[in-house]
């Protein structure tokens, strides 16, 4: 994990101390805002250079960023669409071409798809590509819809390369980010440093627990049948806990490090496992992603504006793409579809089942604990699809319900 690497610890200590020292040199350095912005940008470039694999790693993001900025600054619809297409093509090329090609080639018997294709198609996508492509697409679509474009290329670079969120989000919105960069406080914001430090400490604690759970699950998932039924359910609970702590811990640290520089980035988790239905779960889980999916896939597809059938179809497409975004694998697509189905059922059963649906709805309203349990169960079983290939996930599900 990059935030826990010794290089990053030294890096952030130096950058943060330099940043906090700038206001102390008020009499000698003006304007401080430019120096602070410059420091953040240089730090982000250094971060990406070191963690992203040097020039080869940073070039794709620089080129795509330049294209996005260039298309956005025209504020013309056709150029914005061209920019979106370039972003999507880049993401698909780096992240999904090998996977899709392997899936196709594997249909030809006798061919070793992996070894043939890995010599011609990139096997490692650029660092954070899933995140910065989504941020670029959001930027272009919002500009196309009438929001003002980012005028200065350095501000766009800061938005695109901001190192705390580069690797694993949260997915920023430029309308909230850029004004903060423009108005960086001239003083050391003690409250920001304190709050940031607390978030980093909380994130660190979560990561420590998550890493332990990862070791535990790495062993027991291969020996799931050795466990008693009770301990299999405990392992399932650990799976849910582990991904939450891992991901939210990382988000906590990202939010904390951003706060050290006086920048607020969106919250990404809000106690998702207390949700009482799938819709609420996705309003609490990876909030920045689910908002992005809603705003840039679900609503453009038509949302709920064209009847129940189309609404369900749009949700299924959106969630399947959401699943695929997490990883280049059919199990991820299946996981996304699984949540799409869950959302479709929980959002539409009342209308679809008529009187019976109304009755069920009324009953469930009186039993929030039951709603919570069903939702949690549904989400936990979904994690089997997320983490394991379908045959293994199916086998584990069978073992959970006591099948031998």
């Amino acid at each position: 994990m990059i935030f826990l690497s010794p290089w990053f610890l030294i890096f952030i200590a130096i950058i943060a101390l330099l940043y906090w020292t700038i206001p102390l040199l008020d009499n000698w350095i003006t304007p401080q805002k430019w120096i602070k912005q410059g420091l953040i940008l240089i730090a982000s470039c250094c971060f990406y250079w070191h963690c992203g694999g040097g020039l080869i790693g940073i070039l794709p993001v620089l080129i795509l960023g330049a294209i996005t900025y260039g298309c956005g600054v025209t504020q013309q619809k056709r150029w914005c669409i061209a920019g979106v297409v370039a972003c999507v093509v880049t993401l698909v090329f780096y992240k999904y071409t090998l996977f899709l090609s392997q899936s196709l080639v594997s249909l030809i018997p006798g061919l070793n798809a992996a070894s043939i294709l890995s010599t011609v198609i990139p096997t490692t996508p650029p660092l954070g590509i899933s995140f910065f492509v989504f941020e670029f697409i959001h930027y272009l679509v919002d500009v196309m819809r009438g929001s003002p474009a980012i005028a200065h290329p350095f501000q766009f670079a800061q938005f695109g390369l901001f190192f705390p969120t580069l690797v694993a989000g949260p997915i920023k919105r430029y309308e909230q980010f850029v004004p903060q960069i423009e108005k960086l406080s001239p003083r050391i914001a003690k409250a920001d440093i304190l709050y940031g430090s607390i978030r980093i400490a909380v994130g660190l604690l979560k990561k420590i627990v998550a890493d332990n759970l990862t070791i535990y699950l790495a062993f027991w998932s291969d020996h799931f049948d050795w466990l008693t039924t009770e301990w299999r359910w405990v392992a399932l609970g650990f799976m849910a806990l582990r991904i939450y702590l891992d991901f939210s811990g990382y988000s906590d640290m990202a939010i904390g490090y951003a706060r050290w520089f006086g920048i607020k980035i969106p919250e990404n988790f809000n106690f998702p496992y207390i949700a009482t239905n799938i819709r609420e779960f996705w309003q609490r889980w990876h909030i920045s992603l689910s908002n992005w999916i809603r705003d840039y896939i679900y609503i453009p597809l038509g949302g709920n504006r064209h009847g129940i059938s189309r609404k369900i179809l749009n949700a299924l497409i959106a969630f399947t793409l959401c699943g695929l975004w997490h990883g280049a694998g059919w199990n991820f697509a299946l996981w996304g579809l699984y949540h799409g189905v869950g959302l479709a059922i929980s959002s539409n059963y009342k209308a679809a089942l008529g009187g019976l649906g109304q009755g069920i709805h009324a009953g469930l309203n009186r039993l929030p604990l039951l709603c919570w349990a069903i939702t949690l169960l549904y989400v936990c079983f979904g994690w089997l699809l997320f983490f394991y290939p379908l045959p293994q996930a199916w086998r584990m599900a069978q073992l959970l319900v006591g099948a031998t």
């Binding site: 010794p6 610890l9 332990n212």
Partner: protein, 415 residues
């Protein structure tokens, strides 16, 4: 402060910035000082060897300082007292195949007598340049010069001067904490032959640790009070383990290695035959080529080997070292055709000669052992350990005399 979740709002309302900063720095300083203090004490009670539960396989990583302190406590911190016989090397020398009571180093201790103190610092997968060698160098730097270092290797095998991938952290740990005397030749070789990209991360980590001594503090806490990293071996290898076993301090874990004897039939399964024969083949072909029915050394390989032998240990440790080139079990040797057997023997002899040429003491061992002396193709059981101890004891005494630790007219202890 807007946009702060309620839980954090509650905390922020009660925290003072100055108090937080002062507290953070104070805690950092206190923990670092504590780490430095514990690095100079030996906390390994009744230490015999680094058994399974106090080594890397169970995510427990002893530090270079701790290795040094173990030896110092065994020789009661007396620089001119007992002769420390520090054992390094890999699973063969740690005594895989022997229970704690049968350990070959205990037998060696009995043979050598009270003037010597044998300390087993070998690790599974360890190299001659790791663990024991690091401890020996640290002790020499502190003025503990009455020591002999013994480690095992296989023919033609030495590894990089800083060590193999699991335990090379000992070298960087010791280097950054100033436990090693400068050895420019080794440093130059390591600079010019970096082990891999992960070494840079390791070097940074060890440098940071040399400032804060976090590893020393953490392993002390983990050994004495509580350990918080789960590990599957704790479940599988410990009978009657509980769900909270992983929290138990490591000092409470027994040395369960091979507490039950393995029957002879089970030691040489048919499924292993092909793999071991291929292993022996792999020892030969990178190193020797067949010309007119004779095995001749490949220049590239042995030039590199020579270079590594020169730089791996500093001269003041080389002359105190005995590198033991171990044979494999005769159960497998007799299955080799005469050509491969000659290659294997040639390899062992060349390895010994190369070490000797560069100032080490070196010997072969195991070449006259029986199949019953082995647990598998390389590891020894109790009888093999006894033979190993008997083979090495006189050589250790000879080295001690040569180095002036003992007078040449002193009698050998009765066994």
């Amino acid at each position: 402060m807007k946009e702060v979740p309620p839980l954090y709002r509650w905390l922020l309302d009660r925290l003072n910035f100055k108090a937080f900063v002062v507290g953070f720095i104070a805690v950092l300083i206190v923990l670092s000082i504590t780490g430095r203090v514990v690095a100079h004490h030996n906390f390994y009670s009744h230490f015999q060897r680094f058994h399974l539960f106090i080594e890397a396989q169970t995510l427990f990583y002893p530090t270079a300082s701790q290795l040094r302190e173990i030896v110092k406590s065994k020789i009661q911190h007396q620089k001119n007292g007992k002769i420390a016989v520090i054992i390094g090397g890999n699973s063969v020398f740690i005594g895989v195949g022997q229970s704690e009571k049968e350990l070959w180093t205990n037998k060696l201790q009995k043979l050598l007598g009270k003037k010597y103190k044998v300390v087993n610092l070998a690790f599974r997968g360890g190299g001659i340049q790791e663990s024991g060698a690091i401890a020996a160098q640290a002790l020499i730097k502190e003025g503990y010069k009455k020591l002999i270092y013994i480690a095992n290797t296989s023919p033609g095998n030495i590894g990089n001067p800083e060590g193999w991938s699991v335990y090379n952290y000992f070298y960087w740990d010791a280097l950054d904490k100033g436990l090693l005397k400068p050895y420019p030749a080794r440093a130059k070789y390591i600079r010019e032959h970096p082990y891999g990209p992960t070494t840079e991360d390791l070097k940074l980590r060890m440098w940071l640790d040399s400032l804060f001594y976090a590893n020393d503090l953490w392993t002390t806490i983990g050994y004495r009070w509580v350990f918080t990293v789960w590990n599957a071996i704790l479940i599988n290898d410990l009978p009657h383990s509980t769900w909270y076993q992983w929290l138990v301090p490591r000092r409470l874990y027994p040395d369960i290695d091979f507490s039950q004897p393995v029957p002879l039939k089970a030691r040489y399964p048919a499924s292993e035959e092909k793999r071991v024969i291929e292993l022996i083949d792999n020892y030969c072909h990178p190193m020797f080529q067949l010309e007119d029915g004779l095995w001749t050394p490949k220049t590239d390989f042995w030039d590199d080997f020579n270079q590594k032998v020169v730089v791996t240990l500093p001269d003041n440790l080389k002359r105190r070292s005995l590198i033991v080139v171990m044979d494999i079990s005769p159960h497998y040797v007799k299955q080799l055709d005469s050509l491969k057997e000659r290659c294997w023997n040639r390899n062992a002899n060349t390895t010994v000669r190369t070490f000797r040429r560069h100032g080490y003491h070196s010997t072969k061992a195991g070449f006259n052992f029986a199949p019953e002396d082995y647990l598998d193709h390389v590891h020894l059981v109790s009888s093999g350990g006894e033979k190993l101890a008997a083979h090495l004891a006189p050589q250790i005494r000879a080295i001690a005399q040569e180095l002036g630790y003992v007078k040449s007219n002193q009698k050998e202890p009765k066994t």
